[in-house]
Every structure is written in structure tokens, then in C-alpha cells.
Subunit: 148 residues, 2 copies
């Protein structure tokens, strides 16, 4: 049985992060000892690493909570996990597409910029001031946050 500091060290996270994960239902404590200290089994360390790896490939903590439920559910199928992965892949592709489009617009503008000259005749600022209609291919580049 490990105390929180040991789990944190082995898992590569801070103790505050561990307590946070506990509040969020991502990691459970095995119990408490007499003085109220958390005791963890060493599966806790594996769990932390799972969480960190999942974050590294793009899952949010919310996603990860779902993955952990699937992992713990003997009735769940591997397909369910793959479904989550494929959904995440689609999200990433969408983000990549947005970024690529923004990058290409900016790159075009930067290319149109002379080496010198006052900001009063800057093609980038001009472009930002005026409509960008020739670019319209449908969707805006803005993320799907709730707009005005």
C-alpha cells in the first residue's frame, strides 16, 4: 500500500493532481489509514499512467472517464473503445482542417506583404479590415464555441 506522495512520484503527477483526479472520479483510493492518509494499491499507479497516456493521444478527462468505465465493464466490447478512438480521430481531423485553412490564409497574406512599408498600406491589415469572401468555402474557421 502506497501513500499519495509515492503514487504521485511513480505516476509522474503531483499529489494535488491525484486529489483532483479523485474528486473527478478518475482514481479511487483503496482506503485510509488511522490518521486519515489515503492508501493506494499499485494498480493506482497503472491507472495514472493510463490517464496520462490517454491525454497524450488527445483524450480529455471526460473521455478518459468513459474509457475507464468501458475498461471496467466486462460486458463492453473492444468495438466500443475503437468507436471512441475513431470519434477522437475525426475530431482531430476537423481541428487539423481548421488550422490548415487558417495557416494557408495567413501564409498567403504574409507572402503578399512587402519587406518594408508603413502599416497604413499593409496587405494583412487590409485583408483583416475587409471581407474575406473570396475564401468562403462554407464553414468559418472559428471553433464551434457558442458565438454571439
Amino acid at each position: 500500500m502506497l501513500n499519495i506522495g509515492e503514487v504521485a512520484r511513480r505516476g509522474g503527477v503531483s499529489v494535488e493532481t491525484l486529489r483532483y483526479y479523485e474528486r473527478e472520479g478518475l482514481v479511487e483510493v483503496a482506503g485510509r489509514n488511522a490518521n486519515g492518509y489515503r492508501r493506494y494499491g499499485d494498480d493506482a499507479v497503472r491507472q495514472i499512467r493510463f490517464i496520462k497516456h490517454a491525454q497524450e493521444v488527445g483524450f480529455t478527462l471526460k473521455d478518459i472517464k468513459e474509457l475507464l468505465s468501458l475498461k471496467a465493464d466486462p460486458g463492453a466490447s473492444c468495438c466500443d473503445v475503437r468507436g471512441r478512438a475513431e470519434e477522437k480521430i475525426r475530431e482531430m481531423e476537423a481541428k487539423i482542417a481548421v488550422l490548415e485553412r487558417m495557416r494557408s490564409i495567413l501564409a498567403d497574406w504574409a507572402a503578399a506583404c512587402p519587406d518594408t512599408g508603413p502599416v497604413s498600406r499593409c496587405p494583412i491589415l487590409d485583408a483583416l479590415e475587409n471581407e474575406m469572401d473570396e475564401r468562403r468555402g462554407g464553414m468559418s474557421c472559428l471553433p464551434p464555441g457558442r458565438g454571439a
Copy 2:
């Protein structure tokens, strides 16, 4: 002179957003009339559109505040603006690279997943449980947020 509702309509934002932009120093009011209502010149509408266009190509409000300073500074050069654009392009390329890497890892894992089978023998969950060392190309996929 326009009141806030009119500027919001023409600029395609909400009045709350306008007041927020004002607090953040992105838009100035021309003045107030007797009852305390804000009055705007129609350059305000152009300013709002500038802000929205800049957001669409990936600038944050902080970036945009800088761009607006450059725009207002007669001593600034067009190069300065292009510098900001190029920096933003580099940021986007970095984000794209991270996303591409995550996507490719996930895609490989998803491809390794059988059509059926219990989660107990899921290659994706297995991969998340164990180290992902064969992938190491240096940098982690995690964004540069302050880690544990």
C-alpha cells in the same frame, strides 16, 4: 453616432461582447449621451469586423490587441505585422504537428482493433496501459501547459 445595439447588429456580435471588448481595451466608445448610453462612430463597426476576421484566422484577443496597436502606430512597419502573422503560422504548424502525431497513433491502434472481442483484450486499452516508447520521437504530444 450609433448606440450599442446597432453596432452589435452591424458587427455581428452581442452587446455583451461589445461591452466585454471595451473592458478588454479592444474597442473604444466615442462617448456617452445624457442618459449614459454609449455612442459609437461607424469606425467601431469596422473595428469589430477586424477583430472577428483576425479571430477567424487564429489570432487571440491578446494578439489582436497588439495588431490594433500596430495599426494605430504611424511609426510601425508592415514587417511588424507580418512578423506576428509568421509567428502565428509557426504556432499553427506546431499544433498541426501535434494533432497529426496523435491522430496517427490512434489510427494505428484503431487499425489493430479486431471487429469484436471483449475489452479485456483490447489493443487500444493495452496500448494505453503500457508505455508508448516505440513512438518516442522526442517531444510529448501534450500541449505545453504546466505539467505536474
